[in-house]
Amino acid sequence: MNASPTVLVHAKGLRKEYGSGEGLVRALDAVDLDINRGEAVAVIGPSGCGKSTLLHLIGGLDRPSAGVLSVAGQRVDELSERALAHLRRDEIGFVFQAFHLMDELTAQENVELPALLAGCTPSEARARATALLEEVDLADRARHLPSMLSGGQRQRVAIARALANDPEIVLADEPTGNLDSASAFEVLGLLEGLHAKGLTLVIVTHDERIATTADRLISMRDGAFVDETRLTGGSRGNLSTFAEWERLS
C-alpha cells in the first residue's frame, strides 16, 4: 500500500470530527503526515489543538471521520474493531500522561498484560516482563501495586508495558506531563534509549524544550499542522540534550 517500506505511518487528508450540527468540533482537519521507521516526531501546540486526537487516530484508539490512514501497512480507517485491537496489541505501544495502569495488578502483571493478550504462554510473558522491568530499572518494584509507586515509577512501568509486544511504534501523549523534572528526566532518558535502538516514536508535548530534541517537530493549531521542522536534517536528534539540561539546571 505504501510505496516506501521505510514509511511506517501514512496519513492523507485525515479529519476527525466530534459531535454534529451546532456542536460540531473539527478536532483534526486535512492532515497529511508520513512518519518513517526509526523517526522521532514531536507534536506541539496549544491545548485543544488536536494533538491527542492525532495520536489516538494513529494508535487505532479512535477512527478518523475522513481521510486515509495506514499504520505498519494496514489501513486503520478500514479495519474492523477486532483487527484494530490486534494492531494496537502487536504494533503499537501507548504511554499516557495519566499512566493508565490497572490498579489491581502489580507492576510485573501490568507489563505482562499485552503479551498475555497476544497469546504468549505465562512463562514467556513473565520472562519478557522481567527483562523489561530490568530495562526500566524497576526490577525491585515488580511486585508492587501502582498505588505503591511514585509517578515516575508508574510511567516507567507504563513504558515497559508499551514495549511488551515489541511494537513498531510508541506513541506517548505528554508522558512527562504529570511528573517532576527528575522523573521526567528518567522517562525521557528511557524514550531516548528506545529511539537510539531504532524504535519509531511520536511524542506529544506542551514543552518546546522537549520538542526541539526530536528528529522532526510538528506544530499544530486548530486541528491542522502549521509548521513542520526537520531539526537535524533527517538524522536522529537528541532527546537527552533536554534531559541533560534539566539535570544541570
Binding site: 474493531e81 501507548f94 493508565h100 490498579d103 495488578l105 502483571e109 498484560l113 499485552p114 498475555l116 510473558a125
Partner: protein
C-alpha cells in the same frame, strides 16, 4: 491460550479481592434468590411422595364411602368395578380431654386384627385393644400425648395404646375443616364426604379445626354410644380394579338422596397437601419478593461499578484487548460469582427445606431432605446465569461499542461543580459544608447511593406489608385452637414468614452496610484532601454522615412506593400496612444509615493521607 486463561483468572481474582464487599454482596443477593427458589421448588410435590408412601404402606383404600346405615354397603360392594372392600366400620364423635386440652375426636371402631384395606401403620405402641385406643400422629403430637398416656373420651378414660398414620382420612387439623377445603379445587367428593360425616357427628358446619382421628375397638365404640350420641356413620373402605377410576366411581354413587358420600384417594391426597399448600401460599410470593429484591440489589451493584468497568474496558482495549476478550473478563467474573452463589443457594435451600417441607407427622416417616431434582438444579443455576449475563451485558456492550478514549478517560472525568450547592454550603459549619460539597461534586454517586437506599427500604417495606398480610390471613386461627391445641398449619405459616422475613431483612441490612461502606470509599480522596487542608478527622466523618443522609433521604422516600408496588405485584390481594409503620421505616433507615456510616468513616480517617491521595483509583 494458557496465557489468556491466566490473564482472565488473574483479572477476575484481583478484581474480586479488591472489591470483596461488592463481590460478597453480589453472591449473597444471588444466593438468597437461589436458596428461596430451591426451597419453593423443593416444596412442589413434596407431599405427593409421602402420601404415596403412606398409601402403599397402609394399603390405603381407593374410595372411602361414608354410609348412614350399614345396609347402604351392599350395592357398593357388588358394583362391578370393586375389587375388594372392608367395613363398614362404625364412626362416632366424642369430646377428648387430655392434660387440660379439649378437642373433638372422630372415632372409628375397628377389630383388634389389622384389616386388609386401610391398615393404619402403627408407628409406636400397638394397635387397638379393649381399653386401648390409637391416635392419629399429628393429632397426638398436637395434644402432646404419647403411648401409655391416658385420655378421656366423653368422660371415659382410655389408655393410648399406639400412634398410627393412615391414608384413608386427612390428618389433623384438616380432618373436618371445611373452610380450608372449600376454597380449593379438590378432586373427588372429599369436601362433601368428610364434612358430611363431621356434620352428622355434630361438629359445627363451619368445620372446626380441632378434630382428630381416634381408633378403638368396635365394642369400646359401641359402649361410648348412647341415645344422645347414637352412631350415625359407617366407613366402608373400597379397593377398585383400577384406582384411576376412583373419581368416576365416586361420581356415580354419590348424591343419591340420603345415600352414601364417597371420598377418593386423590381427594385425600389433596387434603393432605393442605399443610404444605398453605406454606407455599406464603413461600411462593415470598420467594418472588426475594428474587425481585435480589435483582434490584444486583442492578444497583452493577450500576455502581459501571464507571469502573468503563475504565477497565478502556485500558484493556488500549493495550490490544479485542472486544470479545474484554467482554469475556466481565462474563467470567460475574459467571464465577453467580455460579458460586448458585451452589451456596442450592446447599442452603436444600438444608433449609426439610424445616419447611417436613410433611407433618400425618404421613409416614419424615420426608428428610427433599429431593433436589436435576430440573431444580437446572432452574436455580439458570437463574444465576441469567443474573450473571445481565450483569455482564452493559460492560460487554461498552467493550464492543464505546470509544476506547472515552472509556479510558471516564476515570479522569472531573467532578462536576454545582454552583448553587457550593455557594449554599459556604455559610455552613465544616461537616455540613463538606457533606454538601461531596454530594454536589459527585451527583451520580449520590444517585447510586440513593438507589441503594431505595432498594433497602423497598425490602423493609415489603417485609412489613407481607407481615401485615399474612397475619391478617392466618390470625383467624391464631396458632391455637379453641381447645388450646397448637395448630400445625398456622405454626408452619408463621415459621415460613419468619424465614422470609429473616432473609429479606438480611438482604436489606447487607445493602445498607454496603451502601455506607461504598459511599465512604467513594469519598476517600475528598476526605483525605479535607484532612490535608486541615480539617479534623471528626469533622470529616461527620461530613460523610451528612452526605450519606442527604443522598439517603430521597432514596428512602422513593423506597416506600417501590416496596408497596413490589408487594402488590407479588401478592395480588393484601392489606397495606399503616402509614405510621412506613414513616418509622424511613426514619429508622436514615438513622441506621447514619450510624453505619460512622464506623467506616472513622476507620477511613485513620488511613494515611498520602497513601490515599497517591492511589490512582480514587
Amino acid at each position: 491460550m494458557r496465557g489468556r486463561a491466566l490473564l482472565l483468572t488473574r483479572l477476575v481474582r484481583r478484581d474480586i479481592r479488591l472489591h470483596l464487599a461488592q463481590a460478597i454482596l453480589l453472591v449473597v443477593a444471588i444466593a438468597v434468590a437461589t436458596a428461596t427458589l430451591t426451597m419453593a421448588l423443593a416444596l412442589n410435590g413434596v407431599t405427593n411422595h409421602p402420601y404415596a408412601a403412606t398409601r402403599a404402606a397402609t394399603k390405603g383404600p381407593d374410595v372411602v364411602a361414608y354410609l348412614t346405615s350399614p345396609s347402604q354397603a351392599k350395592p357398593l360392594i357388588q358394583a362391578s368395578e370393586v375389587a375388594a372392600s372392608n367395613g363398614p366400620y362404625p364412626i362416632n364423635s366424642a369430646v377428648l380431654h387430655f392434660d387440660g386440652h379439649t378437642a373433638g375426636a372422630l372415632i372409628e371402631g375397628r377389630s383388634e386384627a389389622l384389616a386388609g384395606i386401610d391398615r393404619p401403620e402403627v408407628l409406636s405402641g400397638s394397635w387397638v385393644r379393649p381399653g386401648g385406643v390409637v391416635l392419629e400422629r399429628t393429632f397426638a403430637e398436637a395434644l402432646g400425648v404419647g403411648v401409655g398416656g391416658r385420655v378421656t373420651l366423653n368422660s371415659r378414660s382410655f389408655e393410648v395404646a399406639g400412634i398410627a398414620v393412615t391414608a384413608a382420612q386427612p390428618p389433623y387439623p384438616n380432618l373436618c375443616w371445611a373452610t380450608a377445603i372449600a376454597s380449593l379445587p379438590i378432586k373427588g367428593g372429599y369436601e362433601t364426604s368428610v364434612q358430611g360425616a363431621c356434620v352428622n357427628l355434630n361438629f359445627s358446619a363451619e368445620g372446626p379445626r380441632d378434630v382428630g382421628l381416634v381408633w378403638m375397638t368396635e365394642s369400646n365404640l359401641l359402649g361410648l354410644a348412647s341415645k344422645a350420641n347414637p352412631i350415625l356413620d359407617y366407613a366402608l373402605n373400597i379397593k377398585l380394579d383400577d384406582p384411576a377410576e376412583a373419581q368416576a366411581f365416586a361420581d356415580t354413587h354419590t348424591f343419591v338422596s340420603n345415600g352414601p358420600v364417597l371420598s377418593t384417594w386423590e381427594g385425600i391426597a389433596t387434603a393432605d397437601a393442605l399443610l404444605v399448600h398453605d406454606e407455599q401460599g406464603v413461600l411462593k410470593p415470598g420467594a418472588l419478593l426475594l428474587a425481585l429484591l435480589a435483582i434490584a440489589s444486583v442492578a444497583v451493584l452493577v450500576g455502581r461499578r459501571l464507571s469502573e468497568y468503563a475504565r477497565r474496558v478502556g485500558l484493556l482495549k488500549a493495550v490490544g484487548g479485542t472486544p470479545s476478550v474484554v467482554a469475556a473478563t466481565f462474563l467470567v467474573e460475574n459467571l464465577a460469582l453467580a455460579l458460586f452463589a448458585a451452589v451456596v443457594g442450592l446447599v442452603v435451600g436444600w438444608l433449609a427445606s426439610p424445616l419447611l417441607t417436613n410433611p407433618g407427622a400425618a404421613l409416614i416417616g419424615t420426608a428428610g431432605a427433599p429431593a433436589i431434582s436435576p430440573s431444580t438444579i437446572l432452574e436455580v443455576v439458570g437463574l444465576a446465569i441469567v443474573v450473571a449475563l445481565v450483569a455482564s451485558l452493559v460492560p460487554a456492550v461498552r467493550a464492543a461499542r464505546s470509544s476506547t478514549v472515552d472509556a479510558m478517560n471516564d476515570m479522569a472525568r472531573p467532578p462536576r461543580r454545582r454552583g448553587i450547592l457550593i455557594r449554599m454550603s459556604r455559610k455552613l459549619p465544616i461537616p455540613a459544608l463538606f457533606g454538601l460539597r461531596l454530594v454536589a461534586r459527585r451527583p451520580r454517586r449520590a444517585l447510586l447511593s440513593a438507589a441503594n437506599v431505595a432498594v433497602t427500604v423497598m425490602g423493609i417495606v415489603a417485609v412489613i406489608a407481607f407481615h401485615a398480610d399474612v397475619n391478617s390471613r392466618v390470625s383467624t386461627a391464631s396458632g391455637l385452637t379453641a381447645g388450646g391445641l397448637s395448630d400445625p398449619v398456622v405454626n408452619r405459616d408463621e415459621q415460613m414468614l419468619a424465614v422470609i422475613t429473616i432473609m429479606l431483612v438480611a438482604l436489606a441490612v447487607l445493602n445498607a452496610l454496603f451502601t455506607t461502606w461504598a459511599s465512604v470509599l467513594d469519598a476517600r480522596r475528598s476526605s483525605a484532601l479535607m484532612r490535608a487542608l486541615g480539617a479534623r478527622a471528626r469533622q470529616v466523618s461527620s461530613g460523610l454522615v451528612v452526605a450519606q443522609t442527604l443522598s439517603a433521604l430521597p432514596g428512602a422516600i422513593v423506597g416506600i412506593p417501590l416496596g408497596l408496588g413490589l408487594f402488590k405485584a407479588t401478592v395480588k390481594s393484601g392489606a397495606l400496612p399503616s402509614p405510621l409503620w412506613l414513616i418509622a421505616t424511613v426514619i429508622g433507615t436514615l438513622v441506621a444509615m447514619a450510624a453505619l456510616t460512622v464506623v467506616p468513616a472513622r476507620i477511613g480517617s485513620m488511613q494515611s493521607i498520602v497513601e490515599v491521595l497517591q492511589s490512582e483509583a480514587a
